[in-house]
Symmetry: C2
Subunit: 224 residues, 2 copies
DNA sequence: AACTTTATGTGAAATGCTTCACAAATCGAG
DNA sequence: CTCGATTTGTGAAGCATTTCACATAAAGTT
């Protein structure tokens, strides 16, 4: 029992646990749409192909949200997880590099719905600067630092070619941005206090290639 | 010493190790371009922000590729890793759902360069069927199973809306495809012998949101 | 109110992964 | 050819994460 102090207290929570919270959130959104009131760790585990013990343990790091004999209240748990993940608010996001991937991300409405609001676009291509994507005008990369700062951008999504990505990091960091999601296949060097995540699609294809090539053992769910 | 039997023997290799092989491959490609002949585990580790011990341990699962006192031969190690990952050959890939993300992936030349050859496109939108993307004509989803099978497709990239993704799995599986990379935010149910990986961009944004919200502890490199 | 059923929350055990630390091997200098 | 410097390859130790298993609690039933 004994409720851990506060939601989001700075305990040592593993990356996998956070990723699974995203999965629980997604599953709960689904259950909510289907008008479920409560859900057991067993059901929740089944939807995302995990184990009930895993679900309970993950949630227990943040508090005690269920009712013994009954399960978890769908709507309430969803809200609690939103609070833990910090997606119960809007984040101001800028996108840098409005090419193939960048354009796809701007058009994706689900991000805004989950609290990630793309409010600034940047490129260095004269043909793109000034153009309108979903109501946002593409800014010149020359003014990156100042415009990020003026727009109070908190997160940046980087979808430029890898060759220029590192070069842009200084301006991004100086502007006060604290988190970067990087799509360029390169290991960016950023100061200690900046959160960086990489999205590497080639890596997943290569994993499949490895599995097929080596008859990788009885498939388990990806480890999150 | 004692060289482990064969490259790609069915040992118990962790997911993280495979992901790191992708990173080593990328680093070695870079070093090769810069005309390095050999590289130490220390240098390699530095490029991808890992530890030398980790690099050596990972490689040791597959054989013994280095020279004590010297390091690893760049070109040779790169080739060995390509063989381990199965990217020393061409994979025949089909892409299903030629929307925002799908179009971006078709245009991406690096995939082909790494052995992933997109040779078939599918959609159910009459305006898209028959249209030409980078030299490939979009096929009607109605003929999915047959065309996948006739084209000897080995992997499928799924970029349709989540609502239809599960519905397409049967045809994909029946066609003989053995691996699926899924971009739809849904947990697909596939038979035991099919390899499935999910690409979930929202998850990474949510991780950043969590980190910012909770002042997550001294950032470590994502765990692979 | 007692009894049965169900399902949470959590220490402890089991498993898995990373780091340590050092013997073994190679290189280059003298 | 020997010695000192370097760096691999790898058991074993150290951590981290997952799973187990059960006491605990709530709800429904008789
Ligand atoms: N397209 C894909 O499917 C795919 C897949 C995996 C990884 N990636 C990676 O994602 C990134 C983007 O890929 P893409 O296909 O969208 O490329 P792209 O060339 O279509 O887009 C890159 C954009 O960045 C802009 N740009 C270039 N230099 C810039 C600078 N200094 N400042 C601001 N903007 C600049 C370009 O004008 C262009 O609009 C690349 O790093 C690529 O390796 C792409
Ligand atoms: N766009 C993004 O940035 C983004 C980000 C994260 C996740 N996703 C996910 O990726 C997937 C694709 O996103 P998108 O933005 O490209 O969507 P989109 O609507 O632009 O593209 C979907 C494509 O699938 C096609 N399609 C629909 N039903 C089909 C069917 N039965 N058979 C074949 N094709 C069919 C549509 O005609 C369309 O071309 C979605 O599941 C989305 O949730 C997208």
């Amino acid at each position: 029992m004994s409720t851990p102090s506060k939601i989001g207290s700075p305990k040592k929570i593993s990356e996998s646990t956070i990723h699974r919270l995203s999965l629980y959130y997604r599953a709960l959104s689904l259950l909510e749409k289907e008008n479920y009131d409560t859900v057991s760790s067993k059901q929740l585990a089944k939807i995302e192909r995990l184990t009930p013990a895993q679900v309970r343990k993950d949630l227990s790091f943040f508090g005690s949200f269920g009712t013994r004999g009954l399960g978890y209240p769908v709507n309430e748990l969803k809200q609690k997880i939103a609070t833990i993940l910090g997606i119960d608010r809007q984040w101001r996001v800028a996108l840098i590099g409005i090419g193939n991937i960048g354009s796809a991300l701007v058009s994706y409405k689900e991000f805004a719905r989950q609290g990630f609001q793309i409010v600034k676009l940047f490129d260095n291509d004269q043909r793109k600067i000034g153009s309108n994507h979903k109501g946002i005008i593409v800014s010149d990369i020359k003014n990156l630092e100042q415009e990020l700062s003026e727009a109070s951008i908190e997160m940046v999504v980087l979808t430029t070619p890898p060759t220029v990505a590192q070069y842009l990091v200084d301006d991004i960091v100086n502007s006060g941005v604290k988190a970067i999601l990087n799509f360029a296949p390169i290991n960016l060097k950023v100061p200690e206090h900046i959160y960086l995540r990489n999205e590497n699609m080639a890596m997943e294809l290569e994993y499949l290639s490895f599995a097929l090539t080596n008859n990788a053992p009885p498939r388990r769910q990806p480890s999150y």
